[in-house]
Symmetry: C2
């Protein structure tokens, strides 16, 4: 289910958070679907349960999953809450990266095209605003 790079300088739990977010955003993991248990995933990936728990805690903080003691952890269906703090953070990071992209010579059109491709690839379920 996951591929981890043990030699990477990026912590394992962060890699896990990123992979899981990807799967959720691409709807490979559906809303309210149960994700592997801490111990199961730890066994599968041959890493420590505490590392999984750390990743899951982070995913819960970021609003991607919710956990119920004794039952398991599940994909959070309540996105689009427009958590203003989170939006602010993402926008800041995004601006930093866009600035750098423009700086090294990536064109505006190239960026816009990338956005549109990613948007149409993702369901296209709602076109609000």
């Amino acid at each position: 289910m996951f591929e981890l790079d043990m030699r990477s300088r990026k912590p394992i739990y962060e890699q896990l958070v990123d992979k899981m977010k990807e799967l959720i955003m691409n709807e490979v993991l559906k809303p309210d679907e149960q994700v592997p248990s801490v111990r199961t995933l730890a066994t599968e990936l041959t890493i420590n349960p505490n590392t999984i728990q750390k990743a899951y805690r982070e995913l819960e903080t970021q609003g991607f999953i919710y956990s119920i003691k004794g039952k398991g952890s599940f994909v959070n269906p309540n996105h689009k809450i427009r958590d203003s703090e989170k939006i602010k953070t993402i926008k800041q990071e995004l601006e930093k990266l866009i600035l750098e992209a423009l700086f090294i010579g990536i064109s505006v059109n190239e960026l816009i095209q990338t956005i549109q491709e990613l948007d149409s690839a993702k369901g296209g379920g709602d076109e609000n605003d």
Copy 2:
């Protein structure tokens, strides 16, 4: 010249790299302009010279400055080299962030507008592509 957050979990040298990149990309620091010396900046910021050196080494690796032994460190004027490795990396990071932005409900138009604002804010010196 810089404001550092000593309590942040982000390493000081990384904060320095980011700030410096910003100043260079916003052309506050002009091409071939000399940046503060390792020891000078260390004294100003009350941090260790080795930390500055680490930041400068990283900035040199990323192509933002070049250093000459005995003379100093200077802003690299050779951007737009379209270093394919770097472009690839930035594009990957960008796609990850854009995906997340779309996911939490930021609209395509909002993203495009952000790009255009950043582009016109930056000089507008060349409109190639």
